[in-house]
């Protein structure tokens, strides 16, 4: 987020980040980490509750954790109306900032510097690019493998469903173990009715961006060990059939290969997170942690016992495991 701030600004999108952290913590965090967007402090989780996002899996017995939201992002237009929202099954998954910007602007804008591969043949240019975050992969951060078709005038390709004998566009991304791909995101097709044949088709023409969201998990990038490979190879297999209203080219599959970097995870500068070879923050949040615990204890002194109990339980467990 921090690194992408300039992109938000250039796109005219204001960025707000809300948490249950106290204001002093946010001041320190913003200063040490050079955060330029607006951090908001919701210490009693009033707005988190107002939005209905209070994490109900945590009980008040979870002391210092209680009060956090189910994490997610809303993107709104000039009127404040939600145009997109992103919530996931894991707190580790989140959209790359570029995807939020695309959602606000309603189009995909790929950086010129993104890792890419191009195939030009029969006048049809296909580009595959890793979109988001300087073209690297990072644990849980959802980026996109975008396949861009540039179709000459008069040619179109097909979306599902297609009548028998025609081939719908299909994209398959092949990568190392630990790379998770999500279902394709495509712009709506245009209906095309061919009177002579009495068939209805769903087509794309001109420039078309087809995006496959993807992210690495622990097998590939883990926050608990250093990255062992700096770069991995992604193969993109693009199957399609290009046609005019009268005739069709043969279906074909083009394979494009790109090499992308693996990136460290940003981890908080707390003893439990540090020393794993990841990118440690310049903000030591130990004092903030103490403040957070104290804030909870002050509200209810029993929390101190719960805190100690939870900590002991965790230590015992980790000893047992190792």
């Amino acid at each position: 987020m921090r690194d992408a701030f300039a992109k938000f600004e250039a796109a005219g999108i204001k960025l707000y980040a809300l948490s249950y952290d106290d204001q002093e913590t946010l001041t320190e965090f913003a200063e040490k980490q050079g955060v330029q967007y607006t951090l908001l402090s919701d210490t009693d989780s009033r707005v988190i509750k107002q939005y209905g996002l209070l994490n109900q899996q945590l009980s008040k017995e979870d002391a210092f954790l209680y009060g956090i939201p189910y994490p997610g992002v809303y993107v709104c237009d000039e009127n404040g109306t939600v145009v997109s929202k992103f919530f996931h099954d894991s707190y580790k998954k989140r959209e790359s900032p570029e995807i939020l910007i695309d959602a606000a602007l309603g189009r995909i804008t790929i950086d010129e510097t993104a890792p890419q591969a191009v195939s030009s043949d029969d006048g049809i240019r296909i580009m595959a690019a890793l979109h988001g975050g300087n073209g690297s992969l990072r644990q849980g951060i959802v980026r996109q493998l975008v396949t861009t078709f540039e179709l000459p005038d008069g040619l179109h390709i097909y979306g599902e469903p297609v009548p028998q004998g025609l081939t719908a566009t299909e994209i398959r991304v092949e990568g190392p173990d630990g790379l998770v791909t999500l279902p394709i995101e495509a712009p709506p097709t245009t209906p095309l009715h061919l009177k002579a044949l009495g068939i209805d088709l769903n087509v794309w023409s001109g420039t078309v961006n087809l995006a496959i969201p993807l992210y690495p998990v622990g097998e590939l990038v883990s926050e608990c060990r250093p990255i062992d490979e700096r770069e991995v190879e992604l193969s993109v297999h693009v199957t399609f059939q290009a046609c005019t209203n009268e005739t069709c080219l043969l279906p074909e599959t083009r394979s494009l290969t790109l090499r992308v970097a693996l990136e460290e995870v940003d981890v908080p500068n707390l003893p439990i997170h540090t020393g794993h070879g990841q990118r440690e923050g310049s903000y030591d949040s130990t004092p903030a942690m103490k403040r957070l615990i104290w804030r909870k204890i002050r509200k209810n002194p029993l929390r101190l016992l719960q805190f100690i109990w939870n900590r002991k339980r965790m230590e015992r467990r980790s000893k047992r495991e190792s």
């Binding site: 204001k14 948490s19 913003a30 994490p71 894991s90 707190y91 883990s222």
Partner: protein, 72 residues
């Protein structure tokens, strides 16, 4: 501490089952729907100034991020 991998493939330094690592339930609420206006609110920013969301946003598009914590 040994990394424990969760069912979605993620590693974290806290043990599995620790509340800090809980995945989100399938039907976890996700607040306002697409097409809704974001509910307005006022909260202090990092400099202690009160920010009223829609007033501060003015006529800009915005991204509003709910995250767990800057501390841990």
């Amino acid at each position: 501490m040994k990394a424990e991998r969760d069912e979605l493939g993620f590693d974290a330094p806290a043990p599995l089952g620790h509340p800090v690592r809980a995945s989100l339930p399938e039907n976890a609420p996700t607040g306002p729907a697409i097409g809704d206006r974001l509910p307005d609110f006022s909260l202090p920013n990092a400099f202690g100034q009160m920010v009223t969301f829609h007033e501060d946003r003015g006529v800009s598009k915005a991204a509003l991020v709910f995250y767990r914590s800057a501390v841990w």
